[in-house]
Symmetry: D2
Subunit: 467 residues, 4 copies
């Protein structure tokens, strides 16, 4: 069995992940020399305390010292690790269903563990490492003050400034780890939080912890009566944030990234690293502000930050994962709440859409389609053929990037990205254009060509997903 997926460990309890494995994991991570002091936060899942205790026993068996922080958002694991030069651990399955759980690790500079470190753990966990001798065994402590420290540091990082009139913010914590942090941040910055699903509950009884557009968009109607400046929704461990405008609905992640890139570049010029699938709003904003965009493999932009060094990068991100390096080199959804709340209060605007407009963050038509092809083994050939046909299909691109799939950018500002999914047997097509018509036209052409190629190879498109 493979432990690590695209974002740490996420497995089903108890079939794939149980206390026995958590113990082994603690022993393994504790034995590999990443640090002696561990800071463990966990989300609100019913299995999180169990896994924390078992993992802690494993760390002790390796000779390590664990500070169990208790329920706290994942960014706090990274924050603690950096502040106290230890290893940060978050016991969480992020936005997965309640029967899942998992682990994320952070090094003593606050970087999430890279693929290299993950594979080192993966390799050693099945080797049954030997515990240290009885006289070298570690200890466990329970300490919560780091939550206080994080909140105070974040508020002073953002800087509260008196706004004009009281503004309401709806915040949905997904019954997860941020319940005692994000609402408090909003209130401390001068906002008036209306909180929903902000009690800790590992059953996630009202909504899935995944911030899905269809689920969250209903909130715009529900809360229009209280005229919120924004509706925020976290996933279970608050590394992510969805933002909903009470009038216009769900705000695209691309625009959120562009907004934060602008804010970061206003303070300091430098590199902005984003995943291959992000759109041109970001490019325009970064160019305007005098920064440089670098695109990187989807799901691994944080590794690129570490490679380059956080001091060279002002912001990094991909949909749902935003790193603001002047705050820390980790993905942090609570930082997003803090900066957006503060901006909405400071700027005299009524709601988030108006803020993005005022900040001149473009909004272009964008879409994504995913194709499952049968038999699966022809996917590679189909992908290659499709790439070859692209020139005849849409003309000469101005720019081609192949770091993760093939991204073709055209002179009229439109672009297409064709990728093989890393987790599912799909070919994915992403596209953006300056008009809806053009976007539609591009996607239809590509789909037609794709189907043609599949048929030619004797295969069949089994399923198409939109968005």
């Amino acid at each position: 069995m493979k432990l690590f997926g695209t974002a740490g460990i996420r497995l089903q309890y108890p079939m794939e992940l149980d206390g026995a494995l958590a113990y082994k994991l603690g022993l393994t991570v504790g034995s590999l020399g990443y640090g002696r002091d561990f800071f463990v936060v966990h989300d609100t899942r019913t299995t999180s305390q169990l896994l924390t205790y078992a993992f802690t026993a494993g760390v002790m068996a390796s000779g390590g010292i664990t500070r169990i922080v208790g329920v706290a958002p994942t960014p706090l694991a990274a924050y603690s690790a950096r502040k106290y030069k230890g290893v940060g651990v978050s016991v969480t399955a992020s936005h997965n269903p309640p029967d899942y759980n998992g682990f994320k690790f952070y090094d003593k500079e606050g970087y999430e563990f890279t693929r290299k470190e993950e594979s080192e753990i993966e390799k050693n966990i099945w080797r049954e490492l030997k515990p240290v001798d009885w006289h070298l065994v570690g200890k466990a402590y329970h300490e919560r003050t780091v939550v206080e420290e994080y909140v105070e540091d974040l508020i002073s990082f953002v800087g509260s400034s008196p706004g004009r009139g009281v503004k309401t913010f709806v915040i949905d914590c997904a019954n997860g780890a941020s319940y005692n942090v994000s609402p408090r941040i909003i209130r401390s910055l001068g906002g008036r939080p209306l909180t929903i699903n902000c009690n800790p509950d590992g059953f996630f009884p009202f909504r899935t912890p995944e911030p899905r557009k269809d689920v969250l968009e209903e909130y715009a109607n529900m809360f229009r009566g209280v005229s919120p400046s924004a509706i925020f929704a976290h996933d279970g461990d608050a590394d992510r944030l969805a933002v909903i405008d009470p009038v216009d609905g769900f705000v695209k992640q691309d625009r959120i990234l562009a907004f934060f890139a602008k804010k970061a570049l206003e303070d300091k010029k430098g590199r902005v690293i984003v995943s291959i699938d992000t759109g041109r709003a970001l490019d325009e904003v970064v160019e305007r502000e005098g920064g440089v965009v670098e695109r990187y493999v989807l799901g691994k932009t944080h590794e690129r930050v570490k490679e380059v060094g956080a001091s060279q990068v002002v912001m990094a991100g991909e949909p749902w994962k935003l790193i603001y390096t002047s705050w820390g080199p980790w993905v942090d959804g609570i930082l997003q709440v803090a900066i957006l709340t503060s901006a909405l209060i400071r700027e005299g605007v009524t709601r988030i859409s108006k803020l993005l407009e005022k900040e001149n963050i473009p909004d272009y038509p964008w879409d994504r389609r995913s194709y499952i092809i049968s038999p699966p083994d022809i996917r590679e050939n189909i992908y290659n053929s499709l790439i070859e046909e692209m020139k005849s299909l849409l003309g000469d691109p101005e720019n081609i990037t192949t770091i993760d799939g093939t991204r073709l950018e055209y002179a009229d500002g439109s672009w297409v990205l064709i990728r093989k999914s890393g987790t599912e047997p799909k070919i994915r097509v992403y596209a953006e254009a300056l008009s809806k018509e053009k976007l539609e036209e591009m996607l239809i052409k590509i789909e037609k060509k794709l189907v043609e190629i599949v048929n030619k190879m004797g295969g069949r498109v089994v399923e198409i997903t939109y968005g």
Copy 2:
């Protein structure tokens, strides 16, 4: 200064109540022999931890042992006191604004302290009782398991039973002490809680902790989209519960009392003690179910339960204060959540109004008016004159009760209660009738007569409040 008001101590921080007074209070209550073991819960106010620590130091100075439970609803203080034969303490100002705080005390049988015990404390606190000698000093412990025990006991008391389909319940914890209890109760009983203001926050940033009709009635519109079976709203310490129907709005406290009286009498026949201002819905229901109604002084029905003995009483209550004796002799808003949730899931009805209809709980027109009269010293005479005129005004009553004001009940089912408020310089008139027209007529006649009497005595009606 007077410490105790109509419901325990509630004073403004720090002008009226501070750490120094909390310490003295701990020393005094600890010295008066109510018990040696103290169980202290507190609400989410910013001053609650401070007052808990100071109070605990005072208890230690008296030789007592304190178990600090931490944030938990007031009913848990009573529950702990009874379960472990100690003194229960809740540090809370209930529904008061955030700059208030206070104390409620419970004896080892779970009864709230009576006026007798309160005046004993009041008398001794200014006497500066001497701490015990150094070798007799008490200790403090931090323990939360009693919260677990309360939740499990309550669920097994109510008994969960599989319902038909998932039902949604909106629950608003007022950012108070119930945040980790009531939502969990709903979910454990099979409901799907949509929680609002259920993160702990002593600033009460979205709404006042007082469950005011005008504030809460908006919820009916806000959440109609999710078709909840009921909308529940607690005050800050969850001894109270407001219930809102998503279609019909705020449910009158009289009908809630009648519903619980019915449930209690279905299990066991006995006495139902209610305050002087409750309406005829209750009388009808109790009579139907074979119970007996006793009316008592407003604000002190719990003392009457203690006098009579909880075993003789099946239910006691007044608006916002409901005691369900088979569960315990204390006011408990969480018990209300549990029983209503369970009933709504078990009975095949869509919402709370339908449940009350199905249970045949009447709904009669009711109103209340309050008159401030100047100069204040003529209030007594005016009250007496008005009572004298009542016969000529509305005819012969069938029944007169004078235990707290004068309540006159008429043959057509209507009734009037005239009272001098205990906390404000007001004369209050309560009335209920079978029709709105009749009710209006009664109130107009009384108001006219009252104004006439006031004028005759050379006074003036300064202010009239409705509802």
Copy 3:
């Protein structure tokens, strides 16, 4: 591998017992229905916290709730289990070296798990029981008040009474779990404790946690200068107590048992259950006090108490294991400290030897010899032959008991017990007589005969141990 030995689980860390096994043990014990609430105490070993956390994770995986009490003597596990109707667990290897650790279990009446329950666990632990589903997972709490409760209950059980003058007691806690309990008991009862090795230290740096006569007897010289009334020494988890007289040295366990039998019978008549190897001091005392002695298998007297029912038994015991049923059906070294301290203070005697004299507790010459025979497989035959020869060797016994080895009692008050050790390949001979000469004569005769038999069978006595 076999988990359970003669007294719970005791294995070497980490070769035989590690966190992984502790987790499995928690899951197994939690799944077998002994109770849902667990109370876990642990001794001061360096591995005890680790094993407690791993075990607790296992209990949570089975759906159980664990109260982690922390460092506390083993008797507290039994006490908690009975008081709160749960399962008591002590993580300890009692008097073993610091690289060992283990587990003892108690049922909800306070009885140590019997061989039947142990074999049930043993059978199921290798079956890899399935954890409960995610929504049924248990929780862990940290709570220490039960230590307070134990101390207060024990003091009120013994009853403190003002003594004449201050008496000094030396108490050695073996750096173990009693460090914060036994000294406090002595002081609360009016004694003046001089504590040694009473800081918690899992390295046991000064002496082995085993209360060995040779180690402890030096204390008589060391502390004679402070004229203690007694010198007490616990093992690591305080189920045991060694008592040393400052003048006469080590007090025989037989006399301790006899003293406690006397005390128990003074309160209530009934059965006294002791192991097969105890001497006649006990018989004389019990007879005098109107009780009845029953002898039972060594190491399992507690099981016999459970069989018979604690209400039928006033005391049970064997060397190092004393159950005082009016206090509880578990072995408790702290109770011994309490009763002895209280008696020494109350009675106007200077030291423990004088107390035993005053209470008329006889002291007869006693000895024990152990023989290792090679080859091991002839031990059975040698044992049988020796038993056969006993009549010709020492004459007709008045009484023969064969419940565990063969015990022969003679008319002159002397007796012999011949046993095959259950844990080592030895034949053991125990004897007592009214005079040293007679004792010596008996032992020499038996040894001569034993050697003769061994030789005849072509074997060899490899080693003889005395005492």
Copy 4:
């Protein structure tokens, strides 16, 4: 009433110091701007938890955050304050009887509060400072990891090195705050601790927490049998250490100071600040090692360190108060244990006297006498007359120091110090000489002259104390 004495606050409970005063103290110290984060340790006294909770409530009322560390030695308050840039607080009455308690404060560099800061507190505490508003109130946390950090830092500061053979150290913690620290330090450095009075007990049942020579000297006899390398004895809060040689008995504080001065100067040259009453052993050692001695007011050497700056000073001290600046600018008895243990293990010597001999620490005859004179108001004149007569009495001194009393040093190496006690109505005479005879001669001459002067002034010597 005056709060602060010669070493922080030390008052009788509850007459002079109770929870009410502790609350006020917390509020005052928290309001004066020394820092927002408080680290509170306390000793084992029965009143320490009470005072800690009340003080903490006061700090919260001032808006401060308190980390309650729990039972820990006073040096940990200073260590925490410096490490985390906060205010360190130790709730302790040091070596006073059990009915006393008190407070010591440390600033964010680890310096004990000076007379200036103390008088600022003293001045403000009776002014009844106003608590901050409800929304600015602070919080309290319970955290123990700083104890772990202190122990690890100290061990790595001293550096453990394998010794030759196991050496035994007797350590007496006075039932105080060091119980879980000093024994562990000895064991971690390779020693074998035999601990006495190392269980926490605020009754101090065996000996007074004051390390009195007469009480402790008996230990030499008691433990000679285990041939300890040294016998260590702390006071209640472990800022002090008494050292006893198992053969030669009590080691003079002067020699301890000289030993530490030597160790400090071996690492780095610099100033050594000592109180006016220390002897010539120190001067000789410091001169030999190339350092410079500065004498300062008794009881306030720590203030002089702060004035000069810790980087300029290698060691500072006075009897019972030793500051080792490369470790920290606070008085620390545990550091003394660590360095002495490490030296005794590393150097191949059998016991502490041999170590001092090997390190060439001189040992000169020394004595002290105190005179109470009646009427008290002539003390000043008598003191002045005596000083005037000194020249005619003992000849011309080589050197006179008048910073605290008058210290006269003579060419033959002898010296005399005449002081008016700061806490009692006494004149004190300290003297040292190279021979006992000379010392005796000096003291007799001075006493004769003193009596003569007193008589001449019409007064009377009421009491003479020796040593």
